[in-house]
Amino acid sequence: MASLQGFVDQRVLLILQDGRAIVGVMAGFDQKSNVVLSDSKERVYSVEEGVEEIPLGLYLVKGDQIVLIGELDEAADQAVDLSAIRAEPLPPIRY
């Protein structure tokens, strides 16, 4: 059973179908993969400048909008220098 149970109370990276990347603490989830994220921040990637982090607060994201939920390794994430990353934003999902 692929369950999201192991991610509860962890800092996670959520990738949405429109290409957005959101990091936050997963407070809860349900069978349809709807997710509650607290203390969430959107990470906006661009080719010209470093990553911009926009604080968003408490978020309830619909499961059908979610592409991927990644468990963020806090140590590794701290080690990353966001201002140095240059990348295109993730492409949106196309069916």
């Binding site: 990276l13 990470r43 990637y45 592409v67 991927l68 990644g70 468990e71 990353v80 069916y95």
Partner: protein
């Protein structure tokens, strides 16, 4: 159900998942569910330079609806068995 069963037999194998947003991720298949949602451990994004977004992520959950392909290790799938099972399932579906 059939493909779900195939995935269940492939747990702890390394697979590569290609998503509908063109992202390709390789990882060890830890679990799968009825919606074909996938849990991967020890992941590596194939084109890391283009997608540094997941540098700090080691394990992830991928929603089944966004998967385009899953590349399986050929030696671990018995295609004959799968073909037979598929034919049997098709027969029982037709009967229903």
């Amino acid at each position: 159900m059939l493909i779900f069963s195939v995935f269940k037999t492939l747990t702890d194998q390394r697979v590569t998942v290609e998503l509908k947003n063109d992202l390709s991720i390789t990882g060890v298949l830890k679990s799968v569910d009825q919606f074909l949602n996938i849990r991967l451990d020890n992941i590596k994004v194939l084109d890391e330079a283009r997608h540094p977004h997941m540098m700090a992520v080691k394990n992830c959950f991928i929603r089944g609806s966004v998967v385009r392909y899953v590349q399986l290790p050929a030696e671990n799938v018995d295609t004959q068995l799968l073909e037979d099972a598929t034919r049997r399932e098709a027969v029982s579906q037709a009967k229903r």
